[in-house]
């Protein structure tokens, strides 16, 4: 659906996006994840043809965005970061204008506008001035504009910013329902949102692709092991000695903490992904007379993944660029083959 090849955008000497390549398949929901200033909006603006890339090529449904802009733009519905609304119009007038811009035939216009209004639930406010609407409604009017005309691809730049929790849930449901008929690309820096909604995640940092995979795979890949947090009522050298006897443990880290006035030992144990070592840990500690107070597996969340793959990028750009290449190579290629 969208093919991005070696995309680069330079502002003066600063690279906003650097040699970014990825492929978006039809009928899936893609999430762009990245810290602020990572180049998410810039990439989206380039895909939609709002700004031109310095280098590289973007194909939207087979049409080159710079060479056949009109054909490419017809396939896309876009909701930018700040909804592009005319404050002196009502949502109804605004959507009529958007429908004319998108060259929707007169016959279908009315029907499609009403459908967009219904799906985004803005019927109550459709004849009020946009200026007087709340932020959530403004966002939804912008959203209605993006889905108007049933475009093949819907691009949403931070669609849930400024919405209240209830609206966020509604918005997510809406996006998920859109994913059944359309290809959706959305950006966010909120991890839960991406893992809740998206089929595929693209992590971008400093204008470069760091990872592309499903949210579940990403969590697995990055850690490669499961970790267990353990608190024992014993000195930490004892705990360490006991744990070192357990087979299959990759790494142990211990520290002394105080719990209810008693010195305890907090240990972090790394074990291979496919092995459950909790039982062995229990017996090992019991034998060594180190009573376990608590033991819990720490789950790698998308947040950890995100921090892990984007961390340090600010301080050492070059070193981590190589690191990112490894990730991209390791995870992109099998996908391309698929």
């Amino acid at each position: 659906m969208i093919e991005v090849k070696h995309l680069t955008k330079k502002y003066g000497d600063h690279y906003a996006v650097r040699d970014l390549s990825f492929h978006v398949e039809e009928g899936k929901i893609y999430g762009f994840l990245g810290p602020n200033g990572a180049g998410k909006s810039t990439t989206m603006n380039m895909i939609t043809g709002y700004i031109s890339p310095t280098e590289g090529q973007i194909l939207v449904d087979g049409h080159d965005v710079t060479e056949e802009p009109e054909e490419a733009k017809k396939c896309i519905g876009y909701l930018p970061e700040i909804p592009p609304l005319y404050m002196d119009m009502t949502p109804m007038e605004y959507l009529e204008f958007a429908a004319d811009l998108k060259k929707i035939p007169k016959k279908e216009k009315e029907k499609q506008i009403m459908d967009a209004i219904e799906r985004t639930k803005i019927k109550d406010v459709k004849d009020r001035l946009i200026r007087n609407l709340s932020k959530g409604y403004k966002q939804r009017v912008g959203f209605a504009q993006a889905i108007l005309g049933y475009p093949k691809i819907i691009i949403l730049d931070e669609p849930t910013v400024g919405l209240d929790p209830k609206q966020i849930i509604e918005m997510r449901e809406l996006i998920r329902s859109l994913g059944k008929q359309h290809t959706v690309v959305l950006s966010s820096h909120i991890m839960q949102e991406i893992s809740a909604v998206c089929d595929e995640v693209l992590i971008i940092a400093h204008g470069q692709l760091v990872a592309l995979d499903t949210p579940e795979n990403l969590s697995k890949h990055v850690s490669g092991s499961s970790s267990i947090e353990l608190i024992c009522k014993a000195e930490d050298y004892k705990v360490r000695a006991a744990l070192n006897k357990v087979k299959g443990i990759l790494k142990v880290q211990t520290e002394t903490i105080e719990e209810d006035g008693i010195a305890c030992c907090r240990a972090e144990v790394l074990a291979p992904m496919d092995e459950d070592v909790r039982e062995q840990i229990f017996y090992a500690c019991a034998n060594a007379k180190c009573p376990i107070i608590s033991m819990k597996p720490t789950i790698t969340t998308l947040e950890d993944v995100f921090l892990k793959v984007t961390e340090g990028k600010t301080t050492d750009n070059r070193g981590l660029r190589d690191h990112s290449k490894v990730h991209v190579d390791g995870q992109l290629k099998p996908r391309e083959r698929r």
């Binding site: 031109s52 009109e70 504009q145």
Partner: protein
């Protein structure tokens, strides 16, 4: 394209701005018309239209109506809707220009009735009157194109208005400025040399391309000197000739005197096309940078 035109027209008429523009223009023309044509019993409406008391308010009104035309779109980020829709930048700019030109045409149609009002007081030279109105209309169209161009260059409406007014005023005062410059060949030569160097520097500043700037400035400088050596008579009043081509107001004189000069019509239309193309280029450039 029609969508943008309709939207612009609606925004003029759904707010006070469109009515205010038309009313104020008609008020100014009306006052001067009643003073010159009715009170002082002149049958020539051209005298009223080309009067400084009409021109100066007119040059204030133009920026007021054009300042927001593109600047506000980029300020409010609504340009993201326009430029990501399957419509070209050229179509958007032209549609917007046509809308503001239509708005300006409405009061001009009302002014077309004025000569018939005069007819009840005596004989009116109709052909001359309507050629004057045509001249004023063309001048307005050219002014509007300049305003659209300036609005494309900035996000700030105030800057757009002030710069547009400054350009229009400069063009209006060009005749007076010309009279201040000595007519000798040498003066022209010196000014052209300085201008060549300035243009070279501007080229360098805009593109950061040193060689290009040097070549650009050098070529202009060389051309100036060669022309001076080959045919120095061209330089007599040379700078005046160049400057007067920027005076839009001067071209109106023929229309006021009842002469339908084709070259003047072409001149105004060229100004319109030139500034609209510039406006389109400015927006396309913004996409790239």
């Amino acid at each position: 394209m029609l969508a943008v035109y309709k939207k612009e027209m609606r925004s003029y008429f759904s707010s006070v701005i469109g009515y205010a523009f038309m009313a104020f223009l008609l008020l100014v023309i009306g006052i001067i018309f009643s003073w010159i044509n009715i009170r002082n019993k002149s049958p020539y409406i051209g005298y009223a239209l080309s009067n400084t008391n009409v021109m100066v308010p007119f040059m204030v009104l133009i920026p007021v109506i054009t300042m927001r035309i593109l600047a506000e779109e980029s300020k409010q980020r609504t340009d993201q809707l326009l430029y990501t829709s399957p419509v070209t930048v050229a179509q958007i700019v032209i549609a917007k220009y046509l809308a503001v030109a239509s708005l300006f045409t409405i009061p001009m149609l009302v002014v077309c009735l004025y000569p018939t009002v005069l007819a009840s007081y005596g004989t009116v030279p109709y052909a001359m009157s309507y050629s004057a109105i045509l001249g004023f209309w063309l001048l307005g169209l050219a002014y509007l194109a300049i305003g659209v161009f300036v609005s494309a260059t900035t996000e700030n409406q105030i800057i757009a208005a002030v710069v547009t007014f400054a350009l229009l005023l400069l063009s209006f005062l060009m005749t007076s400025i010309n009279q201040l410059i000595p007519a000798g060949k040498e003066t022209s030569l010196v000014i052209f040399i300085v201008l060549s160097l300035i243009l070279g520097a501007v080229y360098y500043i805009l593109t950061r391309h040193l060689l290009g700037g040097v070549v650009c400035g050098g070529l202009l400088l060389g051309a100036t000197i060669v022309t001076y050596l080959v045919k120095s008579s061209l330089f007599k009043n040379g700078i005046q000739k160049v400057l007067s081509s920027f005076s839009l107001y001067d071209r109106m004189e023929d229309f006021t005197n009842g002469i339908l000069d084709l070259s003047a019509i072409v001149y105004y239309l060229t100004v319109v096309v030139f500034f609209l193309i510039l406006a389109i280029q400015v927006i396309e450039k913004k996409k790239v940078s």
